[in-house]
Amino acid sequence: SGPADTGSGSNDGGGGDLTEVKLQLQWLPQGQFAGYFAALDQGYFEEEGLDVEIIPSGGDIVPQDALANGDVDYAIAWVPKVLGSIEAGANVTNIAQIFQRSGTLQVSWADSGIESVADFEGKKIGSWGFGNEWEIFAAMAAEGLDSSTVEIITQDFNMNAFLQGDIDAAQAMTYNEYAQLLETTNPDTGELYTEDDFNVISYEDTVGAMLQDAIWADTEKLESDEEYQETTVSFLKAVVKGWAYAAENPEEASEITIAEGSGWGPSHELWMVNETNKLIWPAENGIGIIDEAAFDQTVKGALSAVNEAGAALITEEPPAGVWTNEYIQKALDELEEEGIDTTGADFSPITVTLEEGGN
């Protein structure tokens, strides 16, 4: 149905009353954040009385720190990284666990014999660093391996290091780097690589699995600022609607993110939206609801992970109130009343065919 303009029409003179909100992403605009851009594009934020600015980030911007410093109102960030920040003094709260599952893979060649985390020993393991490596260390810790038993190599923005054999197992997000592999020509066959060429270890299947994209809010303001509390609920409502839109209209959602400046080719972008949807939907308890068990597992993993410099991610349990379902629950309840499905019970992913180079 194309980029519908359900909400934009209602922007009649009420523009001045909109509450300004800044949302900090954890990377450049791309399908990973389709729900937020869809909410913006479809006018869901405006419907909730919000004027939202989505701020992308680059290599050195830490979203939760931008939040803790008061630069923005909400931030998207992986839970383990934020746990580290909280121990360092950041006062932030997880208000919605958008991704229910971990999307991190460790990919190796089909004939490499690396089939589980236990096989990492003595191998060259790729990771992006920047705090994205804690799942690896946590999973290894569960297998009795510490970081000194492998050689960790920082991956750059593409998968060339893996393709050329510099690393034995590369870190890859289901929605991004794995697709990068599948849209590359195999020089031996002249065809694109297929899933059969690779062994894929999904951290979701290991005890190292950690919660990823969550929405974080300023703890202090949540406690003391009623307006912020209301805004939070409105904000979450719009976000949920945005993700629901992305689930139902992956093609349109991917076009929206491309229009927002994602530089990926169309098939890659669509793949990304589709795979992101799979990490969110279906959401048994409702999208964004934090599963206490999953959160505790993340904390446990974070406590056990020690990197090669000997630094631990966290050394003690995070304080109570590090997460709350209060606002997302309220938002979901209100949305249910409006007749919106917030569990995605009948969600079914589409099939995306990747083209060479993601085009």
């Binding site: 660093g129 705090g131 960790i152 991956q155 060339n160 990197n307």
Partner: protein
């Protein structure tokens, strides 16, 4: 006090030497003091920019890892510096000897001087392999190459006409001319180039670590620490990288002084 010093030619040598050391130390101490004061007394947020005390504490706590990381980055920078300098000197010698090479290398050298590391790092990692330190060394080498080449070439052009005439008068062979006049004349310029290159090599090797390759260097640890909001630790690594850069600078400065010792400048 500063006023009286600037205007007059009161050349009290020992005072000058003392002030040259004391003044920067005072500036450093005052800045650190004010910063610490702002954080601990005025209550400015020390979240992103931690207090000197917090940084020092992390520096001490992670000292062994700090040393190991400094060694890795330092070695990369050193190899790059040596490699880049040798290349720079050789190519400058060619360019000085044969003008077409000079003209041909001009756009290439100019391009190398303006190319950001971000652009080069992924390409070099692909070309030379992300599992080796060579990519970083190559980047440090390229960064060092430019100033060494430019200064060496300038040095080769500094041969005084009177010295050239003298060599001709002595019917000296080309090899003799190079050995007795051209090279010795160029040496101080070469070392000036190396001095400029030294800090560049360190910063380049370090920044290159942000963009892939084996872990364990200062650049990687700065980013990892910062990514988990361990800012005092990140800044402690930054301090280590400053010290590393300073060591490179001072050593190359000493070499330059040594090379120009006992020479009057025209």
């Amino acid at each position: 006090m500063a006023l009286t010093l600037s205007g007059k030619t009161r050349s009290d040598a020992t005072t000058e030497t003392t002030l040259r050391i004391v003044a920067p130390v005072v500036v450093g101490v005052v800045v650190l003091g004010v910063w610490q004061f702002l954080v601990s007394v005025v209550g400015v947020s020390d979240y992103l920019l931690p207090s000197p005390a917090a940084i020092a504490e992390q520096f001490v706590e992670f000292f062994p890892s700090m040393m190991a990381a400094t060694a890795i980055t330092g070695l990369n920078a050193l190899l790059g510096l040596v490699l880049g300098s040798i290349l720079g000197i050789l190519l400058a010698a060619l360019a000085a000897g044969w003008r077409p090479i000079d003209h041909m290398s001009a756009p290439v050298v100019a391009s190398l001087a303006v190319i950001p590391i971000v652009a080069l790092a992924p390409v070099l990692n692909s070309m030379f392999g992300a599992d080796s330190q060579f990519g970083r060394q190559a980047i440090a080498g390229l960064a060092s190459f430019v100033p060494v080449f430019i200064n060496t070439l300038r040095g080769f052009r500094q041969t005084l006409p009177v010295h050239r005439d003298l060599m001709k008068v002595y019917a000296a062979s080309s090899a003799q001319i190079v050995r007795t006049v051209t090279l010795p004349t160029a040496v101080p310029f070469v070392f000036t180039g190396i001095r400029i290159a030294s800090s560049l090599a360190v910063i380049s090797a370090l920044v290159a670590e942000y963009f892939g390759g084996p872990r364990g260097g200062l650049g990687g640890l700065i980013s990892t620490s910062a990514a988990s909001s361990a800012y005092p630790r990140a800044w402690a690594y930054v301090v280590a990288s400053i010290v590393l850069g300073l060591v490179f600078f001072l050593v190359s400065l000493a070499l330059e002084r040594l090379a120009t010792r006992g020479r009057q400048r025209a």
